[in-house]
């Protein structure tokens, strides 16, 4: 059954393989510097590696935007995104998988009455703009660096061509790796919270975790997309959108690969963090926007005469249209799936304002005056509570979101063997698992109850008011672990 549900994610993977590989190898294949077969093979290998080794960072960010909690919901969200991509690509406009999946997830949030985390949405949306600008900047900088180098090198044209060819392979591989790392979240990210895969030990040598298996399936679907449809898209990208010379193609590709990597690498993120440098959020960005940014950057560095503004306009239109269309299709599809096909697209969740939760809200320092209207009541959607509390006019959106999370009923029972059976214990240290074992079979009604119980121990302690990026990152890591526990220990 899981495979049927996964089909929509695989369809999305296929469309990503078909579309986004064109952004990596389009110019190289179109200028005949690389043969399609070679480009497809390099893309397949390195996209898969990137997805498996570094795909978790951007997935986390997408998860914070909206954690689709039912397999049926994940299926519909991915399907909506895939349909949107197919429709827009049919119109001959390159489209971003990142934007469609975000639109579709927000569609699920609206349908299931959840509040969208505007903080995450803002991080993601601003990253799209930032990625575009950064890519243009890097490409322009590379152009200024490479131009005098090429002019001074006095390398023979044939020799130069041969070196560019090798460089296109190496940089293309890096680009494909970064694409896999950055964009796998778009393909199977929505399935991560509901992944039913268990760890598999390969001859006792290494273990492939459940999430990695999910990523592997996503990566394979991307590979199918590359081999079945990407050649046509490469032609469109390389010929119609921006005809680049091999050197400029290489510069654009390098800029794209760097940007995708910056937005995907947890290793780099941690390194920047440890050096107390500003970090770049791990967000799935659009390879289309990034390559367009790089081409614009090179165009501007050349004096801005060769930029085809009408094509840029068409692409920019898709940047706005894609999430909106995906949102609408997602909402409609969820409605149909729930009401016509009677599928579970969301977990039944309730929110209760009883003595325990009101006391906790008070303890957390929120004003309970505005809670008079909800006191003693039970709600089934976040939106309903939000409307009630907002009408009081005393609480800010952030405060309401926090209050809702306290009131949320999420029945759990600590079950370490279950955690191990699902292969999720790998995210935890020995000490943490030992601690969890001490609470074996303990029941909790709210997420904050489990969090507060564990926070008494140093392993799960968080900074109340994190100031530095390092402290914020620590909190994010602990929060990630807690999310895993909330899902794993859930009982009906």
């Amino acid at each position: 059954m899981i495979f049927i549900y996964l089909l929509s994610g695989l369809f999305l993977g296929w469309s990503l393989g078909a579309n986004d590989t064109g952004n990596i190898f389009g110019a190289a294949v179109e200028t005949r510097m690389l043969k399609f077969k070679k480009a497809a093979l390099i893309a397949s290998i390195f996209i898969t590696l990137g997805a498996l080794l570094e795909g978790s960072g951007p997935s986390g960010t997408l998860g914070r935007l909206g954690s689709v909690d039912a397999l049926g919901g994940a299926f519909t969200v991915a399907l909506a995104a895939a349909i949107t991509i197919t429709v827009i690509v049919r119109l001959g406009i390159p489209v971003s998988t990142s934007q469609t999946i975000v639109g579709a997830i927000i569609g699920w949030n609206f349908f299931s009455g959840r509040l969208t985390d505007y903080g995450s949405l803002l991080t993601i949306a601003s990253s799209w703009v930032f990625a575009f600008v950064l890519s243009a900047g890097i490409a322009a900088l590379l152009f200024y660096l490479v131009k005098p180098l090429i002019n001074r090198s006095r390398m023979h044209l044939v020799e130069q061509d041969m070196l560019i060819r090798y460089a296109l392979i190496v940089v293309g591989a890096f680009g494909a790796y970064s694409l896999g790392a950055n964009n796998i979240a778009n393909v199977v990210g929505v399935f991560v919270p509901v992944s039913p895969f268990k760890d598999i030990s390969v001859s006792g040598l290494f273990t492939v975790s459940g999430v990695q298996q999910l990523y592997l399936m996503g990566a394979l679907s991307i590979v199918v997309g590359i081999y079945t449809y990407s050649h046509k898209v490469m032609r469109t990208v390389g010929k119609d959108l921006f005809h680049l010379s091999p050197i400029t193609a290489l510069i654009a590709l390098l800029a794209e690969a760097i940007v995708l990597f910056l937005f995907a690498s947890r290793g780099l993120y941690n390194l920047l963090l440890s050096l107390h440098l500003p970090t770049i959020p791990l967000v799935p960005v659009s390879s289309t926007q990034v390559i367009v940014g790089a081409v614009v950057g090179i165009g501007l560095a050349k004096g801005g005469k060769n930029i085809r503004y009408n094509i840029l306009g068409r692409i920019s239109f898709a940047w706005i249209a894609a999430p909106v269309i995906a949102f609408l299709i997602s909402y409609l599809a969820l409605f149909i799936f729930q009401n016509v096909f009677e599928q579970t697209v969301q977990q039944e969740t309730s929110y209760i304002f009883d003595r325990i939760s009101i006391t906790e809200i008070d303890d957390e320092g929120y004003s309970t005056d505005a809670l008079a209207m909800v006191n003693g009541r039970k709600f089934t959607t976040e939106q309903a509570i939000y409307k009630e509390l907002k009408a009081q006019g005393e609480l800010s959106r952030d405060e309401i979101v926090q209050i809702i999370s306290i009131a949320e009923v999420h029945l759990m029972q600590v079950d370490v063997p279950k955690l191990i059976a699902a292969g999720l214990h790998r995210s935890f240290s020995e000490e943490e698992l030992l601690l969890l074992r001490r609470y074996q079979d303990r029941k909790f009604r709210h997420k904050w109850q489990l969090k507060e119980t564990l926070a008494l121990q140093p392993e799960f302690e968080t900074y109340l008011q994190p100031e530095t990026e390092l402290q914020k990152n620590h909190n994010r890591i602990v929060e990630g672990k807690l999310q895993t526990l909330y899902r794993s220990f859930r009982v009906e």
Binding site: T31, R32, K147, N151, V158, M162, Y166, K302
Partner: protein, 214 residues
């Protein structure tokens, strides 16, 4: 690195050899005209056979380079341009050979009074070809220098036209038969055509250079 570039080095040396042949042909042409004007017809015939040999070798090299570039799919973006440059440059050798061949067949009687202008026209045309060889070499290795050489080709081509015109005026101002005047004019124009061929290559080369610029 050396191993990676082994394939390219071979075709690079072929292109260089081809351009050496063009340059040698131009120099040999000048020597052949000097021999002819000095009445050393045997030596002139020897030069002609040398040029015939050059022409064969240049043709073979051009075909070999062409085949190599296509078979190894090298410089796909510039391949058409490079082959056009080589083909057009090859035509310069053809012009040189044709000119000398006509001398060998018709053995025109050139009055001594014309020797100086005749040599000046020849030197200007040969200089245009030599600058063309520099320009083509630069196209492969030093793009920034191409325009300088192209400029010089244009200069020598104009110079050849200018001196050639003076030569023809002098021919028709002489007291010789009209048929002889007509024959001499034909040979004078033949020498000017060599620099015209060099200029034709440069017309293309300047466009290809713009295309290659970053």
């Amino acid at each position: 690195m050396a191993l990676l570039l082994k394939t390219t080095r071979f075709v690079e040396s072929q292109i260089d050899t081809f351009l050496d042949i063009v340059s040698d042909s131009a120099t040999t042409f000048q020597l052949a005209i000097e021999d002819y004007l000095a009445g050393r017809i045997d030596q002139f015939e020897e030069r002609l056979s040398q040029i015939r040999e050059f022409e064969h070798r240049a043709d073979d090299l051009r075909v070999s380079i062409e085949r190599f570039l296509y078979e190894r799919t090298l410089i796909p973006e510039n391949r058409g341009d490079v082959l056009a440059i080589l083909e057009n440059t090859d035509e310069v050798i053809d012009n040189i050979k044709d000119s000398l061949l006509q001398f060998s067949i018709e053995l025109p009687q050139i009055p001594e009074a014309l020797d100086d202008l005749w040599m000046q026209t020849t030197r200007a045309s040969v200089a245009a070809v030599e600058q063309l060889v520099f320009a083509v070499r630069s196209f492969f290795r030093d793009l920034a220098a191409v325009n300088n050489y192209i400029h010089k080709v244009y200069f020598f081509e104009r110079e050849a036209d200018h001196i050639g015109e003076r030569l023809r005026r002098q021919i028709f101002g002489m007291d010789i038969e009209l048929s002889r005047k007509s024959q001499l004019r034909f040979f004078a124009i033949h020498i000017e055509k060599i620099s015209d061929a060099a200029q034709n290559v440069c017309d293309r080369l300047s466009i290809y250079t713009i295309k290659r610029q970053l």
